[in-house]
């Protein structure tokens, strides 16, 4: 088995890759909609790309949703791209160095033809930044073939049979694409390598976080199989399952190919109109199509009997593979085949009539499709093509991951003809000067060690804070202002997380505000315990100062002498208890005192005062 991983990671730059729009995703209603169509064009070598042709066969209408204040004419393909975002280039160069890669001397932005509408231009702008690097894994060194900097595509919002709705907010966000060589030998290793690459990217502190900001594609082939690209594996945990299931699929397809060749099987392109056979059918699906004016068509797969019911992956049969093709090419809901019939309301009589009409023997399999005639024809011809490919083994194709780790057909493998130069953007020379400016970030493995040993953090807290966006703020506060490391880290990682869940907008506080909060706690202006309440109040009262929060929450500093007075009073009132329980009474009385001063002063100080007063009495 040979596996390669491709990782796409969004960068957390201020602006997009080729314009000055911000890199934010939005959920509020879009401000405008633009309608577009795309056409395939010949490449610089004069060939029309297979994958591009495939999309245009479907001739869809694309709707693009945009926002006046965060998407511009560049995303709309109404203005030429601006120069490449230099911050994004610097991040890419940093990652390239961390992956021991050879950086190109001059960056050339290319146009990669993609006409599924996810790019308004009909191509994705992408540039090779570096090649030929490596990382180490416990099962051996894995080569890094390529690192590219590219623009992310538009976000698919919804789609119908002849249209797709995209949102322009994601289009143009800088994306790093890292491809490993086909050196990975197991599902486990694939997961480890993906994890390691993810950590290296995060170590730059300049990548986006959260769902959809990192996407993994897998290239998998086994001996005698073919290279299959699997898109959209969002969870690291799924990687090894996807790899193992794909290896299983290819193994099963190879066995099926051998069996089909033994049988001299073949699929015939002749289409039969079998509508009449189903004129009185009890199949709800077929009835519905016939009422809508549709027809039923059939094709014959000679020598395919029982093959379509063979398992390929858990829960997916060879028939499912054929059905995928019918759905994608014909846009129909699915197919029926005689390996699974009679069933679904299709009667034995109808199956017999089908066999008679198509002159099929017991070794043949008949596939039928119901619906609009042109769609059925396209669907069934795709089934014939796929069935004939089955004799050769595994077709090279692009597949999409299902949530359970199995995969379904997406489109044929794109050829190399899909790339040509982006002439609107001048090439960029990577000078010595630029290379000297690259600062390699600390690797996370080393950083976690330093945080545990240097700052005395627990391993749990350290592993959270090193990958946190607050990592550098943490170090600044702790090193420059001598604030307790564990308290700062747990504030960022535990308190903030708790407040975020409540809906408090903690991430909008700026660094100076956070610094002031910690310094005031250090000074004793208010107690540590009051921090969550202050953050809640500040988030609800944007623009107000910390001073305002302290006043509003009546957290004004209490003089120690007042506390001592209160402590004495409580001690006097509870002398019986103190005499009876001695120092143990401290716990009980502490609660009473805390009621008065919670949040206004550090609980430790209250505790100490109370303890002193009790000991005085006991002495």
């Amino acid at each position: 088995m040979r596996v390669g991983i491709e990782i796409h990671q969004q960068l957390d730059t201020k602006n997009k890759l080729f314009c000055n729009c911000s890199t934010i995703l939005r959920e509020d209603p879009p401000h405008f909609i633009v309608i577009r169509k795309l056409r395939p064009v010949t490449s610089e070598l004069g060939e029309v790309d297979q994958a591009a042709l495939f999309e245009s066969e479907k001739q869809k209408i694309f709707q693009y949703q945009g926002y006046v204040d965060s998407t511009c004419l560049v995303e709309l393909d109404e203005e030429p791209p601006h120069e490449i975002n230099k911050d994004a280039v610097m991040i890419s160069l940093t990652v390239a160095k961390m992956l021991n890669m050879i950086i190109v001397d001059e960056i050339h932005v290319m146009r990669k033809i993609v006409i599924d509408g996810s790019n308004t231009t009909g191509f994705q702008r992408t540039a090779k930044i570096a090649l030929d690097g490596w990382i180490d894994d416990e099962e051996g060194r894995v080569s890094i073939k390529s690192l590219c900097l590219e623009e992310d595509s538009a976000r698919k919002i919804s789609e119908g049979p002849d249209y797709v709705v995209y949102r322009l907010d994601r289009l143009g966000i800088p994306l790093i694409e890292i491809s490993t060589g086909p050196d990975i030998r197991s599902g486990d290793q694939a997961r480890r390598v993906a994890l390691k690459l993810g950590r290296i990217l995060k170590a730059t502190g300049m990548v986006k976080r959260g769902l959809g900001t990192i996407r993994q594609d897998l290239n998998i082939s086994i001996e005698g199989g073919a290279r299959v690209e699997i898109k959209g594996v969002q969870e690291l945990g799924l990687i090894s399952t996807v790899v193992n299931y794909e290896a299983l699929r290819q193994k099963n397809l190879i066995e099926i190919a051998e069996e089909l060749r033994r049988r001299n099987a073949y699929a015939s392109e002749e289409l039969f109109d079998v509508t009449e056979i189903f004129s009185l059918t009890t199949s709800k699906i077929i009835k519905k199509e016939l009422i809508a004016g549709g027809k039923v068509f059939a094709i014959i797969l000679h020598g395919f009997a029982d093959i379509l019911r063979k398992d390929i992956q858990p829960g997916r049969r060879f028939g499912t593979e054929l059905s995928d093709y019918a759905k994608v090419y014909g846009g129909i809901g699915g197919i029926f085949h005689t390996d699974e019939l009679p069933a679904y309301g299709i009667s034995e009589d109808e199956v017999r009539a089908l066999r008679n009409k198509l002159n099929a023997n017991s070794m043949d399999c008949i596939v039928i499709a119901a619906g609009e005639p042109q769609s059925c024809k396209r669907a069934l011809l795709a089934v014939v093509r796929r069935a004939n490919q089955a004799l050769l083994g595994v077709p090279a194709e692009v597949r999409a991951a299902n949530p359970d780790g199995t995969t379904h057909f997406m489109r044929p493998m794109p050829g190399a003809a899909r790339m040509y130069p982006e002439t609107d953007i001048p090439s960029m020379v990577i000078t010595e000067d630029i290379l000297n400016k690259i600062k390699l970030p600390e690797l996370l493995e080393l950083k976690i060690k330093r945080f545990i040993e240097g700052y005395g953090l627990s391993p749990d807290l350290a592993s959270l804070i090193i990958e946190s966006p607050y990592s550098s703020t943490f170090e600044e506060l702790v090193n420059n202002y001598k604030i307790d490391p564990s308290f700062v880290a747990s504030t960022f990682e535990y308190t903030f997380r708790m407040l975020r869940r409540e809906g408090v907008d903690v991430d909008s506080f700026d660094k100076n505000q956070i610094l002031e909060l910690f310094l005031r706690i250090n000074k004793g202006d208010f107690a540590k315990e009051a921090l969550p309440n202050i953050l809640r109040w500040l988030s609800n009262n944007k623009g107000k100062s910390i001073e305002d929060a302290i006043n509003a929450l009546s957290l004004t500093r209490v003089d120690i002498s007042i506390i001592r007075d209160s402590a004495r009073k409580i001690v006097e009132e509870n002398m019986e208890l103190i005499k009876r329980e001695g120092e143990h009474s401290l716990k009980k009385l502490m609660g009473d005192l805390m009621k008065l001063y919670r949040g206004k002063i550090d609980g430790k100080i209250i505790y100490e005062i109370l303890r002193e007063e009790i000991l005085k009495k006991l002495a």
Binding site: E106, H108, R111, F123, T423
Partner: protein, 436 residues
Amino acid sequence: MSFGYRGKSLELLNKYGVNVGDKIFVKTNRACFSGILMPRSEIGDDKHIVIKLEDGYNIGLSISSIIDIEKIPQETPSKIIQPSIKSIPNLPNVAIISTGGTIASRIDYRTGAVSPALSAQDLYQSIPELGEIANIRTEILLSLLSENMLPKYWTMMAKSIKNHIEKGVEGIVLTHGTDTMGYTAAALSFSLRNLPIPVILVGSQRSSDRPSSDAYFNLKAAVLTAAKAPFAEVGVLMHSSISDDELIVHRGTRVRKMHTSRRDAFQSINSKPLAKIRNGNIEVYKPYKERGGSLELKADFNDKVVLIKCFPGMPLEIFNFLIERGYRGIVLEGTGLGHAPEYIFPYIKEAIDNGIAVVMTSQCLFGRVNMNVYSTGRILLSMGVIPGEDMLPETALVKLMWVLAQTNDLNEIKKLMLSNIAGEISERSEYGGSIL
């Protein structure tokens, strides 16, 4: 051929005897690369060479790092497969005349730039559906970026159109760069007197080598309009919005490029457009000249005419120069209702006294010149400045070139400039102007 290489990089390529298009193996002091040697952009430096890697990416390699280059033998590249052209009988005949521009441009791998290259034939072949609308005849008349347009080319275009009309066509499509398409549209509107069929100028704002190009949508609609529209005028057809769903045909004398890059850059000024096209239906707006009649060609232009924008502090020397060099006409793009700074008045008077026709238009673009409201306007009128009514400055420029090719008599010039010849002047300023 140097393909954009020069100086040191060209020297290096010559030293190893490799050419653009060769598959090469490059050894540098850091690594080895193999790929196809690609052309270099004319704005690139001479310190790098560009190769296309196996995966399709181009990268630049610094020549100072190169130790050796070897040529690798390769298979012959695959050929372009041309779709066959369907011919359906009884369809209207339409001629497509190609003059260049983005609609007829694609990436030029010799220079790495977008340049005019696609012939009308190429366009027809890349849009086979055209064959279902009309029988197409194509001619490559010119191949230029429209910023390089000259009045003599307008004459050439008019003559070519006359040829095609004589051979018998239902309509003509002329592909044109968008930069000066408005000028050409005006020039043809004046040149083609008593035009019997529609002449549709069409361009694109995104080059036709990209899947999102507006060229296909625009060209298809242009052929449809040429074949089927009831009007016989010169029109400019482009997108009506930035969506690929509606097109608009502007009257040739009333259209102006109003945006640098949007698909709907062209707008009608001070006039309704001729038609809108949606889902293959042409919706026309009256009045227009109907089909029929026999063409009279008047396609000469006197290019001793200038267009001058009035602005605070404009220099006087311009006028001395124009008078000395024997210029015959000046179109002023005045401020507001048609005004110019008073300090240039003596020079305008001198120009008119020297027999130069001076026409006033407005840099407001929208609205009509009226030089009776303020004294500056009245003084200019009394000097003999011709008020350009609601003509676009560019249309007035082209019209003056056309008029000056016919007469030198200032009275006659004034009479022609003030009469509506090709829809360039309207008697009434309608509420809503160009809004439908």
